[in-house]
Symmetry: C2
Subunit: 306 residues, 2 copies
């Protein structure tokens, strides 16, 4: 049981020869979710060796170029590669027209369904769900309408203690699902065998929260409480907190404060201003608030295991 987060790009504003705008690939139980899609994301996906035709859901935080200019190129490439399965795109209201306009002007006919899920709400809502995973929005506070996304494994079934079960001939395979679901067993004699005797606790449900771009916004803390991994933007050092506020960004200190308040497992920073070449000063500032903080690495993968 693991979540793998691959950092495709983590820089803000403008791509350069060796820096890439925001994009991340999240792999939860072989489901692939793409988060943000700055220019060049499709090339970074290739470099990461990801099977990117297996991405069925793309989550866009906001419609600024460094988070979305790579989306039309990725869609076009998927089309040229012959994709025929639907692609779901979650993002702010307007993203559908933004993409369809580009397809129209380039006279492109998409060979697969583009299913847009446009967001307008200011409260956290469930936007995706399958049998294993839920994805919620995390309303952020940037210059334009922006959401982070919370990826959370659903609670898992309890695990059978086969040694304990073997003590009771009456318990059959057809009873296992009920036991996994936490039910006690009542024997023919009327004796009740408590579920806790027959099972182990389930594997932990893992969670990841992506928060970019945003001002310091402590009211997201209840939404991301106890997540295993938090990506929080930290565009500036705290000495530039006024600039951060003005531009709708956070400082490394503020990212650390959010991580601490939310009691997360680990914090990963990103979206650094191009003025910084040595990211260690941002790391140290965040670590003063929340020690288990790390820096992103291009094409690096962070694994969380239960």
């Amino acid at each position: 049981m693991s979540i793998k987060l691959t950092i495709l790009g983590f820089n803000s504003a403008v791509p350069t020869a060796n820096s890439y705008p925001t994009s991340q690939l999240l792999n939860i139980e072989e489901r692939y979710f793409l988060i943000d899609c700055g220019e060049g994301t499709q090339v970074q996906l290739r470099r990461s060796k990801a099977k990117f035709n297996r991405i069925n859901h793309i989550f866009i935080s906001h419609l600024h170029g460094d988070h979305v200019f790579g989306l039309i190129g990725l869609i076009s490439t998927l089309q040229l590669l012959g994709r025929d399965t639907p692609l779901n795109i979650y993002g702010p209201l307007g993203i559908k027209e933004f993409i369809l306009n580009q397809l129209k002007f380039t006279e492109s006919v998409c060979s697969f369904e583009l299913a847009f899920h446009e967001l307008t709400g200011k409260k956290s809502v469930l936007v995706y769900e399958d049998n294993l995973i839920e994805v919620y929005t995390i309303p952020l506070n940037h210059r334009v309408y922006t959401n982070g996304y919370l990826f959370r494994e659903k609670p898992k079934a309890r695990r059978l203690n086969m040694d304990a079960i073997a003590e009771f001939n009456e318990i059959e395979i057809c009873d296992y699902q009920n036991i996994k679901n936490g039910k006690d067993v009542v024997l023919e004699s009327g004796q009740v065998i408590e579920n806790s005797y027959l099972t182990f606790d389930p594997h932990k449900s893992l969670s990841y929260a992506f928060c970019s771009d945003t001002k310091y916004k402590p009211d997201i803390v209840p939404i991301i409480q106890n997540v295993d991994l938090l990506y929080h933007e930290s565009t500036f050092l705290h000495e530039l907190k006024d600039l951060a506020l003005y531009t709708g960004h956070s400082t490394a200190k503020e990212a650390g404060m959010i991580a601490k308040q939310a009691n997360v497992g680990q914090l990963i920073l990103g979206h650094f201003s191009n003025r910084y070449h040595d990211y260690d000063i941002l790391l140290k500032e965040a670590q003063a608030e929340f020690p288990n903080t790390i820096l992103p690495k291009i094409l690096g993968t962070i694994k969380i295991k239960s």
Copy 2:
């Protein structure tokens, strides 16, 4: 006197980890012209060490993604870098709305003037002119409305033969411009000194023609006759000539045939289908028609001197 052509990308269709869609930077006498702008062009410009804020004119052949998806990112970056001089964009009708729509949805306000020059004609026309250079369209035949571009230095002034001039005390500096312009000199005695005695022939005016994407179209030959350098797309080998015709592309053989008919100085191939990994087979096919053919190299610069 030279023209420098830097190849930023020369692949067709989809960018990969090590291949880049069409874009070229042309430097004529320190004027910088960008030709086509596939996704990632701004990063290739950085890698080429070009002073890309000095690009004032961008020529787009057609509105297919591999030729235009990088334009919005480049414009956004120029804006973030504080550009304040106008940027001229030449391309098919629709390019203005295509770009302005993307700016609108990303709530971007351009800090500099975007001057669009939208093209609809089917004949070669002059689209740009300054004191040194003229640029003409080259109407091509692709699946959508497409133009190549011909860059041509204007005829240059004749060069003074100072030794010959020194023989005549009467000839003064104020006469030089007339002599450079080809006028004879009439001395006070009435003696006519022929211009050809006082001058050398001018430096050759250089020219470059960019032709992508197009079916084999021999009626472009009169437009590109005798150019020093021709870039002509060669998406396929001639064994796939039917596919080339169907998709609106040329074969390497056809590129060589055009170069031969137009009596160009040198032919450079490009826009290769991703099915080819060894471009030498395309090169050899074109060279059989036109020996002075070369392959493009990523970030390589071809110089033409007079």
